[in-house]
Structures are given as C-alpha cells and as structure tokens.
C-alpha cells in the first residue's frame, strides 16, 4: 500500500499569498476533497500530445528519461510528481560546498540524515515512492541532475499566487461528503449525527476505504478550516492546529521543538507528511502512531472542541483503550498544546523493519531535563507496547532525582524493559520489543552523557 505510484501535485496554500506544489498520494483522499482545487499529474507536466521529442518533456521527465529512471514504468508518474514538487520547492538551492564535490551529503545518524544533491535536491522527497525494478540509483541521478526551474516556468510562477479557496462542497447519494465552511458548522454536524468521519489528509481513512472496504456514511473534510490551521507561540506554550500537515508544521516550527524535529524524518514519507496531520494521528488513537509517544514526552495536552465549547485534556489521560479515548462522539480534536519550557535533551527512537516509510514495532520518545548532573525531570512516551500509547511512568520514577550515571540508567533500563504489555505479532516478538525498550534508554544515555560532563 502507498507505493507512491499515484502521486500528484496539488497547489496547497503556502501562507495567505502564495501556494506550493505539494505531492500527495492520489489513492488516499476522496476525489471530492479536491473540488475546485488545482491538480497536476505526470500527464500535465509535459507536452503530452506529442512527447516524442525531448523538448516536449518537462525537465524532470527529461532527466528521468535520459538517465534510465524507468523500466516497467508503473511507478514512474508518481516519481515524476514527487520529483517535480521538490524541483519547485522554494527553499531548494544548490549549496556551494556540495557543488564543488558533486557528491551527496550523508548524515551521521539515520534519524536526521539528510541526503541532498549538489542541486539542493532533498532525496527524501522521494521516500514515499517505491520502485521495484529500475533501482533507485538512476532515479537519484536524475534528481541530482536537475537545474533550478527557469524564471519563465509557469508552474514556478504559479507559486507566487494563493492556492484556490476551498469550496463549500456538499455531495450526497448513498454516502455524503461535506466540506464545512466553519468550525461551528463542524460542531453542529457532529452534534446532529452519530457516525461522522472527519478527514484531513485521509492517510488513515483512505487505507480503511481501499483495503478494508470501509464505507463511511458521512465524511467531513476539515483540512482547509482556518480555525484548525494555526501555529501559535505564547510565553508558556506552543499550540499546533489539528489540521496542519506534518510538512507544514515542520516548516513553521523550523526546529523550535527539537523532539518533533527528530520525529519528522521518521514519520512515514514526504508524500504522507504532505497530507497527514497531528490531529489525525492522535485521533485515530493507534498504539503505534508515531506522534503520540513524542507528544507524551512533551507533556502535551489536547484541546477538544464542540458546541459546548472547549476543554483541555492531558494526552497522558486521553487514551482509554485500543483506539479509544475520552473524546465524546460530538467532540473533535482542535489543537495540541505543548507547554514551555521544553526539556533540553530529547530523542525519538523508532524501531521498525525498514529505516523509512514503515510502521513502528516499538517507538520511544524521551524528554530529559538535567540539573547539575541530576535528573530534574524526565518523560518517556512509548508506542507499540500496549493497547494505547503510554508513559513509562515506572522508568521515569527510577530516574527522577537521581544522578544521570550509567548505574542509574542501567537500573532504570531494567525497569523500562518491563514497561507495558508488549505482544508477539508480525512486526516483532514481545521479547524483542522489551529488549528494544531497555536498549533505547541505554542508547539515549550514551548519546547524552558527554554533554552532561561538559555541563558539569
């Protein structure tokens, strides 16, 4: 699933005045979600009517053709669109030092490694696109050979204007699709209907529909509601709107929450992050959703809104069982609030079968605050070891107030190995999960011990 072969470019808002060609999987969202929007497919990039000469091809298409980037061709249109989105990314610029050597810059640790071409092309723009015959090298060659778009390029120019405004779409038949115009309208619909699916990126619902044949009777598209799309900084908290995509949050935060910075590159792929939202990831309540452990470690609170107003619930008290929460049927998750100040040392470890674009077997997020070599506070969020995402409370207790030494950590790691109730399944055995919990804490200590000595 989600091979990326169907990727298309959508003109998404980039602030109030600009738009950004954003690649998304076309197989996941309902087609009606794009009512009135601008979409470009691989067919629309070049001069398809007579694509026999190289001049008729878009630069991305031409490089892929010239460098042997296709064999069976099935994945190629998706690669073309993901590559084109990166081609037009406003921040992409050739780095001087890389231009000298012309080689890829490979990061040191996989969590944050950044593989980037001499032309500033972030290779992870293609991480949601699978190829099973050509091999990725000629595709990478094509990506790294791309120049900057010509100034006269109409698609480059298109980004200087706002994205199309959302439409008040309402279509009903056997099932109903509605794009409400305001949060109040969403609240009213939730109040008056029992079976409503709220959809932003549809990265979860799309799978339910495609593979499990779920047919929700009423779908509400909330991905363009202004009330859900703000990122606000105050003195004591940062509030993330539920319908901002992960890519949007990543850009807007610009590293201000380092723990989320650890999460982004490990969360699915660029194609998914361009559509998926934190509101959706927390609302589906999967015990292996990647963001919940991180927000638990950040001591985040979720803001639930409804016709009755708003209430705030600590995420640590939000989940009540497998995909169950304290959210009432007529409530929705409007925002996530992260209290400030942030802990200074953080990490997110995602243990999965593949480095990227995979589902966690176990995930561990840690936020630690030391004071003079002693653990002043620590919060550890875990995924994949219980029916819900959980805090490793016993481990936290074994750490807090104690010196941040190998002895303390070894004892706490033994406690960590016993956290949750991990099961055996197709992703991992319970023994493996337990071993990874222990190892995660030891690793975190190893990564954060030098800083401590310097601080002393």
């Amino acid at each position: 699933m989600e091979c990326g072969a169907c990727a298309v470019l959508v003109a998404r808002p980039d602030g109030p005045d600009r738009s950004r060609w954003t690649s998304v999987n076309a197989c996941l969202p309902p087609a009606l979600a794009f009512d009135g929007q601008e979409i470009i497919t691989a067919e629309g990039l070049g001069n398809v009517s007579d694509a026999c000469t190289p001049e008729d091809l878009h630069p991305v298409q031409r490089e892929m053709a010239d460098r042997g980037g296709s064999q069976c061709g099935y994945c190629t249109p998706g690669f073309i669109c993901s590559m084109a989105a990166e081609y037009y990314r406003p921040e992409r610029s050739p780095a001087e030092e890389d231009r000298e050597t012309g080689t890829a810059v490979v990061g040191e640790e996989h969590a944050t490694d950044h593989e980037c071409g001499p032309n500033g092309f972030d290779l992870h723009a293609l991480s949601g696109n699978l190829c099973r015959c050509t091999g990725y090298r000629p595709i990478r060659d094509a990506a790294y050979a791309l120049d900057l778009p010509a100034e006269s390029d109409p698609l480059l120019d298109r980004q200087n204007r706002p994205a199309p405004a959302p439409r008040h779409t309402r279509v009903s038949g056997e099932a109903e699709f509605l794009r409400p115009q305001s949060l109040d309208e969403v609240h009213a619909v939730l109040r008056n209907n029992s079976d409503v699916k709220l959809v932003a990126g549809a990265t979860d619902l799309g799978v339910e529909v495609n593979l499990r044949h779920s047919r929700p009777p009423l779908v509400l598209a909330i991905d363009r509601l202004d009330e859900l799309r703000s990122l606000t900084f105050s003195a004591d908290s940062i509030e993330i709107g539920a319908a901002l995509t992960l890519s949007e949050v990543e850009r807007a935060l610009d590293g201000r929450i380092p723990l989320l910075g650890h999460l982004f590159p490990q969360f699915a792929s660029r194609l998914i992050r361009n559509a998926a939202t934190f509101g959706g990831n927390l609302s589906t309540g999967s015990p292996i959703g990647d963001s919940a452990p991180v927000f638990l470690a950040l001591d985040a609170r979720v803001v639930l809104s409804s016709t009755e107003g708003e209430r705030e619930v600590p995420l640590s008290e939000y989940y009540t069982g497998y995909r169950q929460s304290v959210r009432k049927p007529h409530e929705m998750l409007r925002a996530i609030r992260i209290p400030l100040p942030l802990a200074e040392s953080t990490a997110f470890y995602k243990i999965a079968k593949r480095r990227f674009d995979d589902i966690s077997s176990v995930s561990v997020a840690i936020a630690l605050q030391l004071s003079a070599g002693v653990v002043r506070s620590v919060r550890i969020g875990l995924g994949g070891v219980a029916a819900t995402p959980i805090r490793a409370l016993a481990t936290e207790e074994a750490l807090v107030g104690r010196p941040w030494t190998p002895e303390t950590v070894a004892a706490a790691a033994a406690v960590m190995a016993g956290e949750g109730t991990p099961i055996d399944d197709m992703r991992a055995s319970s023994l493996y999960r337990s071993a990874m919990l222990r190892q995660a804490l030891l690793k975190f200590h190893a990564e954060n011990v030098e800083e401590l000595e310097v601080a002393q």
Binding site: G68, P77, R132, C133
Partner: protein, 228 residues
C-alpha cells in the same frame, strides 16, 4: 595497428539509448492493464470469494445470495468450466477447488457491473467449510515428512569422512524469510472475445505463453484461439 580501445567511426556500443517506452512512462501516457477498463464499455469486474482457512474441504457453496446484490451478473464456479478445472500448468492448481489449499484461496469468482458490486456479491456468497489439519511452518513439514517436489542432493568427495577428521566442527540452524518480487503493478487481467470469436487477454504477467495455455485448457479451446 588498431587498438581495441579505439572507437569506430559510427559506434553503436557505448551510446546512451533511452528506454523505448520511456516517453510514455515519464508522461504517464503508457497504458497498463487496468487502464483498459476506462476505455472500454460493458466491462465486467471479477472479485474472488476467498477461503478463511489454510486447509479445508468445501462442503457447500451457495451463490444465490450474491445474485440478489444489485449489479451482480453471475458467479463463476466449477460447473462453469467447459474444459479442465485447473489454473496451473502442472495440473495441480484447481481454478475452483473442492479442497482449500491455502489461506485466501479463491473458491469462486463473482462478476459484477462494477468492482464494488462484485465485491459486495462476493461478501454475500455463503460457503460451508470443514477445516482440515494444516502444515504451515517448515518445522511442521519436516516432522510430518511432508515434502514437495524433487529433493536434489549436491555432493562432492566424501563429506562425512572430511567432517570426521576436521579439527573444528560447528553446527547450528538459522531461519530467514522468503521474499516475493514485490512488483508494483497489481495483478490484473482484461479479457474479451474479438471480432473472430477468439479470446483476447491483456494481462499483467511475465508469462504470456503459460497464461495462453491455461486459458485455453480451462475454456476447452485450442491455444491458437487464445491471444495473450
């Protein structure tokens, strides 16, 4: 004397040549099997009824309820086969089995005017199974001495003797999983009768000749009546 490294005047080798279909690939205009559906009319879609057991006997198959689903046209089962009920080339894979041999084995296929109708029709088919013992791991198969196919042995010299005199001997077991080639194009076949009454099949397969043979023997046709 001419060196081997010298290039001829009009070289053929060493010149970059693009994939012959690449323009279609990169512009998205290349057609794949399931693209045929949208450019054809009156296409019927097939959906399998899949067995929920690794091994079982089919006691009863009631297709009637599927026919009540709007858009369902027909349910194909063993009685519809005019030729040989076999979907393989070694005659060991019944197209419509009486004994389920693996989890997900298709026991019959529902034809509908839309994929959704066919799927709902397949959901409506009622099947009674008698679960049978199954062997699903290698260890179980070895224990039950349930071996498949040839058991080739490769030997050279006198291994037992060499091992006996070896200064160090190690033994152990390891396991690794198999991996099917995970091609991205999904399995799809598109079939119609052409103007000469012959069967034309467009299929996402790397084995067109085997597909031709199978279609012919299932339909009791000569191979030349089937084009894949």
């Amino acid at each position: 004397m001419k060196s081997l490294a010298d290039r001829p005047v009009n070289p053929v080798v060493g010149i970059p040549v693009s994939h012959e279909s690449v323009a279609g690939h990169v512009t998205g205009t290349a057609l794949y099997t399931d693209d045929m559906i949208v450019s054809s009319s009156n296409v019927l879609h097939a959906w399998p009824v899949q067995a929920p057991h690794a091994h079982s006997r089919i006691l009863d198959l009631r297709t009637g309820p599927a026919l009540k689903v709007p858009g369902v046209v027909r349910v194909l089962s063993a009685s519809d086969v005019p030729g040989v009920n076999d979907a393989g080339i070694k005659h060991d894979e019944p197209l419509f089995p009486s004994e389920v041999m693996f989890y997900g084995h298709a026991v019959c296929w529902v034809l509908g005017e839309s994929l959704e109708a066919a799927r709902l029709g397949a959901e409506a088919v009622e099947v009674d199974y008698e679960p049978l013992p199954s062997i699903v791991t290698l260890e179980e198969a070895i224990e039950a001495e349930s071996f498949q196919g040839n058991r080739p042995t490769v030997a050279r010299g006198e291994p037992d003797k060499a091992l006996d005199s070896a200064p160090h001997r190690f033994s152990g077991e390891f396991q690794f999983s198999g991996q099917e080639h995970f091609y991205l194009e999904t399995h799809a076949s598109f079939a119609y009768l052409d103007e000469g009454g012959q069967v034309f099949v467009q299929c996402s397969t790397q084995h067109p000749s085997e597909t031709q043979e199978i279609v012919a023997h299932v339909l009791n046709l000569a191979n030349h009546d089937v084009t894949v």
